[in-house]
Amino acid sequence: DAGITQSPRHKVTETGTPVTLRCHQTENHRYMYWYRQDPGHGLRLIHYSYGVKDTDKGEVSDGYSVSRSKTEDFLLTLESATSSQTSVYFCAISGVRGQQYFGPGTRLTVT
């Protein structure tokens, strides 16, 4: 198993509050990704990072920001959570030939 952990695993928050999700890897991989998974949509890329302090936007980046101050940690922040951001969030690191390895996910509910 790739050494990827996510915290928290579950979170319930109110509309308008800030939320930060954490991804931690022990594999020293350069590339890290944040996805959201919603029924009928598969996984959609929010942001990714290609090194410390190097990040870029994915397909559904509006309303999200990320930071990577250390190789092992990649943070996803919802500055002001909305109900449309209720989802399951997955962090991943890259492997060979396009493979990615995923953390266990964070289930976020915005009420």
Partner: protein
């Protein structure tokens, strides 16, 4: 526009029989195609992949076939076992800025009946 499509939301198969999961794509620039398996409350796990220059790749009970002219790939599981019940995602990788990015289908829920 969905570049990777899995048109069957669910599939039910008898234990011991063959399961065939299908995936269609629109972009001829994809480098690899991958299948992931996902159990509830867990992250997706890599199952098998195929290069865009190959027609077939086999790993134990799992075989992936790629038909480039039809832009179609399929995952065959033989024989199907109860532990194969999961959601299966098809994904396609494309190289962008020295980084492989994955484009995902919506998933097919496979149910193996005893």
């Amino acid at each position: 526009d969905q570049q990777v499509k899995q048109n069957s939301p669910s599939l039910s198969v008898q234990e011991g029989r063959i399961s065939i999961l299908n995936c269609d794509y629109t972009n001829s620039m994809f480098d690899y195609f991958l299948w992931y398996k996902k159990y509830p409350a867990e992250g997706p796990t890599f199952l098998i992949s195929i290069s865009s220059i190959k027609d077939k790749n086999e790993d134990g009970r799992f075989t992936v076939f790629l038909n480039k002219s039809a832009k179609h790939l399929s995952l065959h599981i033989v024989p199907s076992q109860p532990g194969d019940s999961a959601v299966y995602f098809c994904a396609a990788s494309v190289l962008r800025d020295s980084n492989y990015q994955l484009i995902w289908g919506a998933g097919t829920k496979l149910i193996i009946k005893p």
